[in-house]
Amino acid sequence: MTSSIAPFLIFYLGAVLLAVTPTGLRRVIALLVPVLGALNLYALPEGVGWTLPLFDYSLVLVQLDRLSLLFGYLFHLAAFLGFIYAFDVRDRLQQVSAMLYAGSALGAVFAGDLITLFLFWEMLALTSVFLILARRTARSFSAAVRYLLIQVGSGVLLLAGALAVIADTGDIAITRLTLEGLGPWLIFIAIGIKCCFPGLHNWLTDAYPEATPAGTVFLSAFTTKVAVYALARMFPGTELLVYIGATMAMFPIFFAVIENDLRRVLAYSLINQVGFMVCGIGIGTALAINGAVAHAFNDVVFKGLLFMTMGAVLTRTGKINGSELGGLYKSMPWTTGFCIVGAASISAFPLFSGFVSKSMVMVAALEGHYEIVWLALLFASAGVFHHAGIKIPYFAFYAHDSGIRCQEAPRSMLVAMALGAGICIFNGAYPWLLYDMLPFPVEYEPYTAAHILTQCQLLFFSALAFAWLNLRGLYPPELPSTNLDVDWSYRRLLPAAATAVASLAGRGWQYLDGGGQALASRAVSRTEGLLVEWGMLGRTWAIKTTALWILILLSSYVFVEYL
């Protein structure tokens, strides 16, 4: 039997139902939608499914191939686990927006053309922001506004790039692009924002830790993975990505070590993991792409699991700072256990999911003769074990006893965490089911004696370093603090600069007396007249250029205004 229902539509309809039904029914619907969606996806035929005419073009709403199908199943799984985790959440706002958000992610990965991709790209931003707003604190509100501005900005860049590409090629289909000319670069940067390229990454570490416990679980699954998918679709084998990815894998771990908010530590390690995927896409061989995609799959599950455990801690104790937690293994033994499974998976211990996917990218890096990049990735592997593998469980559940005694996590959360942990171990111990779904045939064998041994050596000696630093008192203590990142430039520097310019200009204007002010005004209008008649502004411009400048002007105005 074949189906022809667009995957996103099921989620959007589900969201409409959630908006009108009472609490008890809502939680059932929320669980049913991903299951129905997965069945529908199973029945969808490959190739172009749904088209919609738009002027001279025809939008392709559903296009299925191995790559999009894998991400499709992944997003259904993530939504299912997320809604189990959020089973006790009664907040309609969170349920509806999470459902729309998951649907938008599906819309984006099945989009067959640039315009459809753009629409769902923006929907991802618009629907997910409510998961941050739903925390209903002043902090989360301002973080949400910053998040929305940057995400919508990414969409605007994507649209501008898409229009430039369409104008050049006359084709709206999503195809492989090379980094030549304005259009591809704009698309590259738009994806780069959602993908957390270095310098463009700060929205994630700013906003994700401010969302609700369940909200962060949903957020960690979709936006960055849609971006990884888009990169794999449009820019595979782009060498620049190898270096961008290696940088992404490296720099966040330093921030993670000194960060106090444990969900922010996980946010930094999310960027670090996406770095491995970006690097794999940049290498571009079959092994590397397979590795990147398999790691995206595993990352959604283990990073979701880790965010779930920290969300459970936040739910039960109301605290999330490492400096205020500790000793919780006494109160939350199950959550502790699931957290350790997640930690072992992200650290790529043998028999856990990270082991079977991260190494594909690393082997591909060596095969492609990227030795320095390989060393960087190895450093990042040791580092991720250090901050996500040890630091998260250690400071939350062990370390010094904070004296907090609370209940174990609610049952719904435990079920979701147990399922996530089960998938982590299953994919780690029996990776062939996942390997069968990858875009290219897999010849890679993860369980060789050499691989198991070297990985154990790397991890055990990283743990030894942690123990040694701790015993010697060299390990930096968890301190209540804020660490500056790129966001400082737009949360402090830019406003300060604007205030300085405004006050300087104001003082200068006052300094002139009435005659001087009139003179200055006249000079300005005279110059304006000259420019319009003979200068730059008097020239006729192509509509494309004008539109681009208006776009840049308006978006920077919006950005500065609402920051």
């Binding site: 000194i258 006494k330 390989w374 040791a382 055990f460 040694w468 390990y475 804020t482």
Partner: protein, 83 residues
Amino acid sequence: MAEPEKTHLFDKPRNVRRVLHILYALCGLTLALDFVIHRHIDHPWEALWGFYCVYGFVACVLLVLVAKEMRKVLMRREDYYDE
């Protein structure tokens, strides 16, 4: 009145020491296995004896020491942005 709380696993320093001893043993074991197992080599650096052990240890110590230095530049009060 609440009952006196039961002692947990790591309330006894002996158990903490045990965990550490297990870790030391595992480190020693994997290092020793480097003599025995003929590793498949993709790159000459990997062939060095104990390469992964040394790299993992040094990487983590470096990571922490550099991050500690970063604190001097980057760390602010918790409510830095809240004013």
